[in-house]
């Protein structure tokens, strides 16, 4: 339970970043050093620690604009750096990528032919420039193993991965907010202890094992769902949806364990604030205070984690797709590794890394919309 508090504090530090746009004046304030769990607090990882927002005065409109501009610049720089690293790892580091793709038994002629076909005989900087141009225009080159353009291949697989991630995120949110609020409003009572115990267990369970257990129960024993596979959206929305239910549940339950702890801690933390006491003293009912004041404020750290969980869900789908044999991005990248199709690996990894970066940027921007303190300062 202590960890949840620590996590919350992590989030608040991250949030503080968005509000403490000129926080150097507050450096003499206590700087707390929370423990850090990347499953729960990667938000802080992507933004950095700063003093708690309660210490910081409301930001002005120009300060917010400056923050957003700075954040936009960091976002673009991070995207470029990520693309450079991926390119260096998968294009330059292996030496001749054509040799890696064809394996040790390939003839020099075959290697030379593939080198020319993939444009690997050009200088690295030119190849990187072409890839960047391709990313902007949607021309990602040709897959060696499928012998088709990579972009449509990725789009086709996204039709499985994206709905799966969205379903899992929706389920995570409903479960976590419900359980977190319930636990906070029953603080230190059996309901709270039950939720916290369940979430502690949820944190320890590997999602792929939970997925296997779900298959054992719902596919092998009860036979309500199939053990894997995806019929495609053309086979009817219901059938396709049904095929994604178990994978989404497997992903969501473990993530919900994390988010429920954050929600509980965030709500409890806000409930200890002076303005909540004032609202209660004014005669507002506990329920009214919870809905009108507490939730709005508690939502900021919860939003941070939700944004990051969506990013990690995208990566988590790689595992879930393998457990349930779903033809999504995860399967695509594994087949690409097996076939040494480095072009596909490079583009899928870039897409997943970019998703993490984009979502974190959006979460930062959303603070301005969600946080009541910032809204007030807008006038």
């Amino acid at each position: 339970m202590a960890r949840a508090e620590g996590h919350l504090r992590c989030q608040r530090y991250a949030i503080g970043r968005s509000l403490s746009l000129s926080c150097s004046a507050h450096r003499s304030q206590p700087i707390r050093a929370p423990a850090f769990d990347p499953r729960i607090a990667p938000a802080a990882s992507l933004r950095g620690f700063a003093p708690s927002y309660s210490l910081v005065p409301p930001a002005t409109e120009s300060a917010i604009s400056l923050f957003l501009l700075k954040r936009l610049a960091t976002f673009v720089a991070t995207l470029l750096a990520a693309s450079a690293l991926i390119f260096a790892m998968l294009d330059i580091l292996p030496g001749n990528a054509a040799e890696v793709m064809l394996g040790a038994t390939a003839t020099p002629e075959a290697v030379q032919a593939l080198t020319v076909k993939l444009g690997l005989d050009r200088p690295p900087l030119e190849r990187y420039g072409l890839w960047m141009k391709g990313l902007a225009t949607g021309d990602l080159g040709i897959s060696v193993s499928y012998d088709t353009p990579i972009a449509p291949l990725i789009v086709e697989r996204l039709a499985v991965t994206l709905p799966l991630a969205l379903m899992a995120m929706a389920l995570t949110t409903v479960l976590a907010l419900g359980l977190g609020l319930y636990a906070a409003s029953h603080h230190n009572r059996p309901g709270d202890v039950g939720v916290m115990t369940a979430s502690q267990i949820g944190l320890a369970i590997p999602n792929f094992w939970f997925a296997i257990l779900l298959i054992l129960l719902f596919a092998v024993k009860l036979q309500w769902f199939s053990a894997g596979g995806f019929p495609g959206w053309d086979d009817g929305i219901w059938n396709a949806f049904k095929a994604l239910v178990l994978p989404a549940v497997a992903l969501a339950v473990v993530q919900a364990a994390i988010l429920a702890r954050i929600t509980r801690s965030a709500v409890l933390d806000v409930m200890r604030e002076d303005f909540v006491r004032t609202a209660r003293a004014k005669g507002l009912s506990r329920r009214a205070v919870l809905w009108r004041h507490v939730l709005r404020n508690a939502f900021v750290p919860v939003l941070t984690v939700m944004g990051l969980q969506f990013a990690s869900l995208l990566a988590g789908t790689i595992v879930a797709e393998n457990v349930f044999s779903l033809p999504g991005l995860g399967r695509l990248v594994f087949q690409a590794i097996a076939n040494r199709d480095l072009g596909v690996v490079r583009n899928v990894v870039m897409l997943l890394a970019a998703s993490v970066i984009v979502i974190n940027f959006l979460v930062d921007v959303l603070y301005v919309v969600v946080d009541p303190r910032l809204k007030t300062s807008h006038g």
Binding site: P38, A81, N188, P206, L216, V345
Partner: protein, 290 residues
């Protein structure tokens, strides 16, 4: 001056450890972790059967006196595989957390001691590394070097570096703002000496707590990578690999999918509980607040 928060303080004394044994979370987690360590240690000297011994005639047997947890699809003793698999998980955990501590703590201390552009550079670098979860790093490394135990260790280790860099820098900054550091500077001590003599001992307890969390995550990460075929390769036993093999025989022998998952979950639960307990013990105010 400023109060110090969670876990920032010198290493606990012997009496503190005695108090720790009476803390339910720490005690329960400690028992599970000790069980994990003992199992791994036992695997070096004794296993019920040879873990890699294939016995097709006795494949997919149910638990019995001869095979406590039954046998797998190759007739290997599941209990022996689990015992040897513990060794693997611990090895990955230790090395991956070691990589994180060695590089991350050094970077964090450097950032706190130097501040300015060094701190900014270290922090931006850690931000950037977080865009590559262990799974993505492992995918890239596997695409070039092929799957294996070392690939998974490096991938998990790289992900640990920014975690430790961040936590170290935050905690070290807090220590640098204390009066005793000011006094040390007034005495003419340099940044390097202050870091070694004052900062590091004062953030050690926090780093230990963090190490337990990262250890748990490393076990989960290794299991996932092995399950996907990116980590430990056969015939070396691994809990994740066992689950992968068990899934193929789910209709014939569903019990095989239970034991390795349970072993992973109990190990991670133990480390998590121990981490929670340690944090409570190091910051009693937080425990009271809850």
């Amino acid at each position: 001056m400023a109060e110090l928060a969670v876990g920032v303080g010198p290493l606990p004394s012997a009496s503190a450890w005695r108090r720790a044994l009476h803390h339910p979370s720490f005690a329960m987690g400690g028992v599970l972790v000790l069980l994990l360590l003992a199992t791994a240690a036992l695997s070096w000297v004794w296993t019920p059967h040879a873990a890699t011994e294939i016995d097709i005639a006795h494949r997919l047997e149910l638990p019995s006196a001869r095979h406590w947890l039954g046998t797998d699809g190759f007739g290997r003793d599941v209990a022996s595989l689990l015992i040897v698999g513990a060794r693997n998980s611990i090895a990955v955990g230790i090395v991956a957390v070691g990589i994180g501590i060695a590089f991350g703590v050094a970077l964090g201390l450097l950032a706190a001691a130097r501040r300015g552009w060094v701190e900014e550079a270290v922090m931006r670098l850690s931000d950037f590394t977080f865009a590559f979860p262990a799974l993505l790093s492992a995918i890239m490394l596997t695409a070039i070097y092929g799957p294996g135990l070392y690939t998974s260790i490096v991938a998990i280790g790289i992900f640990n570096i920014p975690v430790f860099a961040r936590i170290t820098r935050a905690a070290a900054n807090a220590i640098w703002s204390r009066e005793f550091v000011l006094a040390a500077r007034a005495c003419g001590k340099g940044a390097w000496r202050i870091t070694i003599e004052h900062v590091l001992p004062n953030i050690a307890s926090l780093l230990i707590v963090q190490a337990t969390i990262q250890f748990a995550l490393a076990i989960l990460g290794e299991a996932a990578l092995s399950y996907l075929g990116l980590g430990t390769q056969p015939p070396q036993p691994s809990w994740g690999r066992m689950l992968n093999e068990a899934q193929g025989m789910m209709f014939k022998a569903p019990q095989l999918a239970i034991w390795p998952g349970l072993a992973i979950a109990l190990s991670v639960l133990g480390l998590n509980l121990m981490g929670d307990g340690l944090r409570d013990l190091m910051d009693p105010r937080l425990a009271r607040k809850r």
